[in-house]
């Protein structure tokens, strides 16, 4: 088969449906990556317009441009859009587009999940935008502190829009994080061991793990605040055993890692681009990987530094102050590694490099002001002033926008297959750089003079007028610069001439395919033995196109790629992907129905929407099944491999592991909240304890453990080819007993709107009940699969997945029952 025939055959298998309707059914990572990026930059535009309105209002003292209510919506939506609808999705889009190409594979691990994540993001973002158009946008600041955002002080729908819209969007981030983690660990080119991974993949891996552990506390906080607003459960009301500080803890448990979740992917772009621009290799690859990990972990020990003025005891403050100073060290390691890389190479000042220089200046200043506010006495002075706003913009614009612009200019020839025509980008950079620094240096200054953040106006006598005017004019200069980048890209996309392949002479695999990339990425998958395969094998692109790699002989209508051993990159299994489908958009719409039903208080719709999601999920999984064993498959290069679905460690098992990591973090945050309220909140102990029951405790614990043991037994019997129902049915019955125990517990609770104690028990019980029902659904589904012949000793992947969830159910059941029954027994 020659290269052209192979291309046509692969294109027929992998291409999305033609026309705009194809967008709704595409599961291709290149399509979805572009859609993510396009949508994220649309939101960047909206957030930018809001910033202009804010600066227009603050340009002069006593301004009457907008009223206080509209101003509150503007700054809340500006922060919310930039953090949740631009920065994180832009990373997701970039990683969705690039990772499979960099890793030498044909798609991400779960293509339908990528599409589902995109539609959740698009629908959730649209919800927030529509609310803004109707004048009911969130208005409590992007971190939504209660009691301001509680039912008493924010009775309208504005806060609910934020809580529900953002939770909907966060589903997308969790989906992407699971997707990236599994893809990076298991979907790489053969031979690509962990030490040969492109550095961007390390950044994406660590960022994904941070999303999995950083986002659940905020999801929990949003659930608790929404439940308080909708049903009066008093988690944050001090007079009923709640504490508004709990929100701050949950929010910043997410919020500080979020800063690094935004910075790390951008740093990944820098670590990728600098060596290419400097015609050398990255200095200190291993040190950088270690520093990324250190940064990720330390970032979870910093959250209280956003709460230095809340009256927390001094020793507690000192822990977080010390951690905040320590985090500068791994950041410094990376900065010095980048400087060292430029030092050992011959840097060329192309367009991406300009933005990287902009990053260096801006981010280092932002980092230094960060060390200033890490020192408690300084923070007490600067807290909630414009100094903090300026600091965070230096970190986020410097640490994310400049690197992203560098990345856009670096990968634009790959995406478009064209080379730049005009030199508009240089002018744009100059305007952005000068505009940004004038805007925010001035804001530091006015902050130190005492201007508080989020005020809609100020007196002429304050002396802040000139500085604010300079800041506002400069912000418009920056906006013109960003608009010029947009014009530059549009001109590039439509007018510029064709570029040669790999114009930067880079060494990573994304440049080994076609430009623009084909839907299948690689005609055959490379065998990798170096971190920069294109330097080691300059004609690799041609060899892959000619089929000189794995999976070079496409089989009719099968989208194939390889799964490898996580550490060594040794090929382990053949993966067959599902094709184009509208299932993801349907499921996202149904998920949206669930969120809308809560927002609009149409509670009759909630169970219907949930049932719809469950039904579509079952169809989703059912489509993956097969009714016959397929055995070893030819994967090229004389490597017969089993199918990934014919083993214990299927993609679904790996996905479940990381989803459970996020789930366990959510549960851990809930237990933390329980302990926090108990020890810190006023109004404890409650007037009425839950009446403990040894019988329920024993039955629940026994049922959950029996369910887990029986589920494992069924997996063992399946492998041995023995009868399965003798284990599967007891497992199902045991889970049903767990459902009953949680139901009884919820039935016997003290009134949950009377005290935070009972409200917390209600959430714990509901969490347990939801998981027990979910596991019952899985077990019932597995029984159906067994009866219809979808399993065999070889086709056993579903058993391992269900066993994992049953184990998790057993663990949380024991913990929940102890947390609920023990206090009543002891007290």
């Amino acid at each position: 088969m020659n290269a052209l025939r192979r291309h046509r055959k692969l294109q027929a298998i992998w291409a999305s449906d033609p026309g705009w309707k194809g967008w709704t059914s595409s599961v291709n990572h290149s399509d979805l990556g572009r859609m993510f990026l396009f949508t994220a930059f649309f939101f960047f535009l909206v957030g930018g317009v809001l910033a202009m309105l804010i600066r227009a209002q603050l340009a002069t003292p006593d301004s009457a441009f907008v009223d206080a209510g509209a101003f509150a919506q503007f700054f809340t939506m500006h922060g919310t859009i930039m953090m949740f609808l631009f920065a994180i999705p832009a990373f997701e889009g970039l990683a969705i587009y690039l990772l499979p190409k960099m890793l030498g594979t044909r798609d991400l691990a779960f293509p339908r999940l990528t599409a589902y994540g995109y539609w959740c993001y698009a629908f959730g973002g649209a919800l927030l935008l529509v609310a803004m158009l109707f004048g009911i946008a969130p208005n409590g600041g992007w971190f939504m502190y209660p009691p301001l955002t509680g039912p008493l002080y924010s009775p309208g729908i504005n806060t609910d829009v934020w809580l529900i819209g953002i939770t909907f969007v966060e589903i997308s981030a969790i989906c992407a994080a699971v997707e990236f983690t599994v893809s990076i660990l298991k979907y790489r080119a053969p031979g690509m061991s962990l030490d040969k991974m492109p550095i961007f993949a390390w950044y994406a891996l660590v960022t994904s793990l941070m999303i999995l552990t950083g986002f659940p506390p905020l999801i929990l906080g949003s659930v608790l605040l929404e439940v308080e607003r909708a049903f009066g459960l008093p988690f944050f009301q001090a007079d009923l055993g709640g504490d508004s500080l709990l929100w701050q803890h949950l929010f910043w448990l997410f919020g500080h890692p979020e800063v690094y979740i935004i910075f790390l992917p951008a740093a990944g772009v820098i670590s990728t681009v600098i060596p290419v621009m400097a015609r050398t290799t990255l200095l200190g690859y291993g040190w950088i990987v270690a520093s990324i990990m250190a940064l990720a972990f330390l970032s979870f020990g910093l959250w209280v530094h956003h709460m230095f003025t809340t009256g927390i005891p001094l020793m507690g403050l000192a822990f977080f102050s010390a951690a905040s100073t320590l985090v500068a060290v791994p950041t410094g390691v990376q900065i010095f590694a980048w400087i060292g890389t430029m030092w050992k190479g011959r840097p060329e000042l192309h367009m991406p490099m300009l933005h990287i220089l902009g990053f260096f200046v801006t981010f280092v200043i932002g980092g230094l002001t960060g060390v200033m506010v890490a020192v408690v006495p300084f923070d007490w002075q600067a807290h909630d002033t414009a100094f903090i706003t300026a600091h965070l913009h230096y970190v986020l614009f410097g640490g994310f926008v400049f690197p992203m612009l560098a990345g856009i200019y670096y990968w634009l020839p790959l995406v478009s297959g064209r080379k730049r025509l005009f030199r508009l980008g240089e002018l744009a950079f100059a305007l952005i750089f000068l505009g940004f620094h004038s805007t925010f240096l001035a804001m530091h200054w006015v902050g130190l003079l005492g201007q508080r953040r989020r005020i809609e106006t100020y007196d002429a006598e304050s002396g802040w007028g000139t500085i604010n005017f300079i800041s506002s004019v400069s912000s418009f200069v920056m906006a013109i610069g960003l608009a010029l980048v947009l014009v530059d890209i549009i001109i590039h996309a439509f007018v510029a001439e064709r570029s040669r392949r790999n114009p930067w002479q880079a060494g990573t695999l994304e440049w080994a395919g076609m430009s623009p990339p084909a839907s299948y990425n690689f005609a055959s998958l490379p065998e990798v033995s170096d971190r920069t395969p294109l330097y080691e094998t300059p004609d690799l692109a041609n060899r892959l196109a000619m089929g000189d790699g794995y999976l070079g002989a496409p089989k009719a209508a099968r989208r194939e790629t390889l799964m490898v051993d996580a550490a060594s990159g040794r090929p382990e299994a053949l993966v067959i992907y599902p094709g184009n489908t509208r299932l993801p958009i349907l499921m996202a719409a149904m998920t949206g129905g669930f969120f809308l039903s809560i927002l609009l208080k149409l509670f009759w719709l909630t169970p219907l929407a949930l049932a719809g999601v469950a039904a579509l999920a079952l169809v989703w999984v059912w489509q993956l099944g097969a009714r016959a064993d397929q055995g070893l498959q030819e994967a090229g290069r004389g490597a017969p491999l089993p199918l990934a679905s014919e083993g214990d460690r299927s993609p679904g098992w790996w996905g479940s592991i990381f989803l459970l990591v996020a789930n366990a973090t959510f549960f851990g945050s809930l237990l933390f909240g329980y302990a926090f309220l108990w020890t810190v909140a006023p109004g404890w102990p409650p007037a009425q304890w839950f009446v403990p029951s040894w019988a329920e405790l024993g039955l629940g614990t026994g049922a959950a453990l029996t369910g887990a043991i029986a589920q494992h037994l069924s997996a063992r019997r399946n492998r041995a080819g023995a009868a399965l129902m003798t284990a599967l049915v007891p497992a199902l019955l045991a889970t049903a007993a767990t459902v009953v125990v949680f139901g009884l517990m919820l039935f016997r609770l003290p009134p949950p709107d009377g005290h935070a104690y009972a409200a917390t028990l209600l959430i714990l019980g509901a969490y347990g009940l939801a998981h027990a029902l979910l596991v019952m659904l899985m077990q019932g589904f597995l029984i159906l699969q067994v009866r219809r012949g979808y399993t065999s000793p070889r086709r056993r992947a579903a058993f391992a997945v269900v066993a994992l969830w049953t184990d998790y159910l057993a663990a949380i059941t024991v913990l929940i029952l102890l947390a609920v029954h023990l206090p009543g027994m002891i007290m």
Binding site: D195, A294, G301, F319, L326, A567
Partner: protein, 107 residues
């Protein structure tokens, strides 16, 4: 998976110990341990000091274990990475919790 755990373990232990000692600090303040006088220092500071010492000791053990052949790995990259992370975790344990020795308690 084993390699990933090996690399992440020292930092996970730091995170767990940092959170646990912060929690212990909250519990001690809420329970009035500062008022219970023991030789040399209060019960509160003894408890925190012992917890901090135990964590440092555990991190040292982990560092030594990762250097032994028994817990070795075939990948020199993974070995170097896990030992570097172990040093990071040890330093972080010392630095982020040193306020136990010098700071005022629940004021």
């Amino acid at each position: 998976m084993k390699e990933l755990l090996r690399v992440l373990l020292p930092l996970l232990v730091w995170l767990a110990s940092f959170s646990a000692i912060y929690g212990l600090h909250g519990l001690g303040c809420a329970s009035g341990w500062t008022e219970v006088a023991l030789p040399v220092m209060s019960l509160f500071r003894w408890v925190l000091f012992l917890a901090w010492s135990a964590t440092i000791f555990f991190q040292l053990l982990l560092l030594l274990a990762l250097r032994t052949q028994r817990f070795d790995t075939t990948s020199s990259f993974i070995r170097r990475l896990s030992i570097t992370n172990s040093w990071t975790a040890l330093i972080a344990t010392f630095w982020t919790l040193y306020p136990i020795a010098v700071s005022s308690t629940c004021g």
